[in-house]
């Protein structure tokens, strides 16, 4: 059994406050796992620990056999394997769409300019934005910016993609286009760990759903668990519609 991502009894504190209280779960290669839960339950923190944006106090995290909690970790190697997309897109505002996408391939993988351009063309085709290649981020809608952010991450050919509430900042009519891109990615076999408030997406696209509550994995199961919650906490979470 070699999981793409595995967390074992992960504890994370910010100062005195323990935010993750022994979190364990696995993501198999090619699997799509949705993480749901109330605000403050530690979803983002768990995700950020996976690519070492946060360091943990105890426990083990592994990504494709690489120990993330190892102090000697080759951070850049980890980040070549793991892509991340944020709620706030975080595109580089001073660069065009093409430059946003090709920056990492050119700097990190030393891809020549012409070839990098080709990478941008391909990545943008995957998110349906080929005509925006020379636009600046602020000339795009939120949904388009988020798709560019996904393309930017894909251009580095990660083995695992982390999504942290990537549609939460979007108008409802723009979330669909982003979710569609993510669904296509899932169908294409990408390993995905998706923090989301989109229950319909979790049910339809995710192979497994993890419900986090007060810094713990509270309940986990297939998408159907959302129709048939076992714990009162999940029931309440679902009933209150977030």
């Amino acid at each position: 059994m070699s999981a793409a991502v595995s967390l074992r009894d992960v504890h994370k504190r910010f100062g005195e406050v323990e935010v993750l209280k022994g979190v364990s779960f696995d993501v198999a290669p090619g699997e799509v796992v949705a993480v749901i839960g109330r605000s403050g339950s530690g979803k983002s923190t768990a995700l950020r620990c996976v690519n070492r944006l946060e360091t943990i106090q105890s426990g083990e995290i592994e990504v494709h056999g690489r120990r993330v909690d190892d102090p000697q970790l080759d951070l850049r190697a980890l980040r070549r394997d793991v892509g991340m997309v944020f709620q706030s897109y975080n595109l580089f505002p001073h660069l065009t769409v093409a430059e946003n996408i090709t920056l990492a391939p050119r700097r990190v993988r030393k891809t020549p300019q012409a070839e990098a351009r080709h990478i941008a063309v391909e990545a943008l085709a995957r998110v349906g934005l080929s005509d925006k290649i020379d636009a600046y981020p602020e000339q795009l809608s939120g949904g388009q910016q988020q798709r560019v952010a996904i393309a930017r991450s894909l251009a580095m050919e990660p083995k695992v993609m982390l999504f942290d509430e990537v549609t939460s900042a979007l108008d409802p009519h723009l979330t669909g286009e982003v979710l569609k891109v993510m669904e296509a990615l899932a169908k294409g076999g990408m390993t995905m760990l998706v923090v989301t408030h989109e229950m319909a997406f979790a049910r339809r696209v995710a192979d497994r759903v993890i419900f986090m509550h007060t810094g713990k994995v509270w309940e986990t199961g297939a998408g159907e668990m959302l129709a048939n919650p076992q714990t009162p906490e999940l029931r309440e979470f679902l009933a209150n519609g977030l």
């Binding site: 850049r76 944020f86 580089f92 990492a104 000339q139 930017r152």
Partner: protein, 219 residues
């Protein structure tokens, strides 16, 4: 005792040139040192941040004239006699490094943290993140205050006169000592300073306006 002649005016113009030379030297070296100070002030290592903060506090809390005295007269006592131009340039460089370092630290830190997080998630090194993502954005913000500070430096070069360096202020003193026409002589000197500073001030203000208004409109 004669009147103010063309010879005097040419003498003042030459001195103005030295003022410019000193400014360029001080600001150029000061920018390099200021960049290092900015790096140190935003370093990950705690003690580097602490040491650089002490440096900045000391320089910002000391009159430039005292720094100049220390460099020019102080070093002479221990046997290091610097030419007045060099002593003045070094003093101004130290002065610039502290102030520019702080100005630029503020600009670098005003770029949202999420920008460097996104860059690091893509596998960029800290240095690549700084050069390709943070600095281009910080530079936009930094330009108006930096040009504004350049005006301060230009005016502060007049302090070099106390070390006997013949820049514009010193030159006008020399002329006035023989002509005793302070209003005329220092008036002309002031006008020459103004002619140098005013365009820079305007530039700084124009850049600031451009920064506030000049956001690209959605296509």
């Amino acid at each position: 005792m004669g009147g103010f002649t063309l010879v005097h005016f040419v003498y003042l113009l030459q001195a103005t040139l030295w003022t410019v030379v000193l400014t360029v030297l001080a600001f150029g070296l000061g920018s390099l040192a200021g960049f290092v100070v900015m790096l140190a002030r935003t370093a990950r290592t705690r003690w580097i941040r602490a040491v650089s903060m002490i440096y900045v506090d000391i320089i910002q809390g000391t009159p430039l004239l005292i720094v100049l005295f220390l460099i020019y007269f102080g070093l002479a006592v221990v046997g290091i006699e610097l030419p007045a131009l060099l002593a003045a340039a070094i003093s101004l460089m130290i002065y610039c490094s502290a102030f520019l370092g702080e100005i630029w630290r503020g600009c670098v830190q005003s770029v949202p943290r999420t920008q460097s997080e996104a860059a690091e998630c893509l596998g960029l090194t800290r240095w690549q993140t700084l050069v390709d993502v943070i600095l281009p954005q910080a530079m936009r913000i930094a330009t108006p205050p930096t040009v504004g500070f350049l005006v301060q430096v230009l005016k502060n070069t007049s302090l070099a006169s106390v070390a006997g360096f013949v820049e514009l202020t010193r030159a006008s003193q020399v002329i006035n000592n023989s002509l005793f026409q302070p209003f005329l002589v220092f008036g002309i000197a002031g006008a020459l300073y103004f002619a140098l500073c005013y365009p820079l001030s305007r530039l700084s203000r124009a850049l600031e306006r451009k920064l506030n208004v000049g956001r690209r409109q959605p296509a």
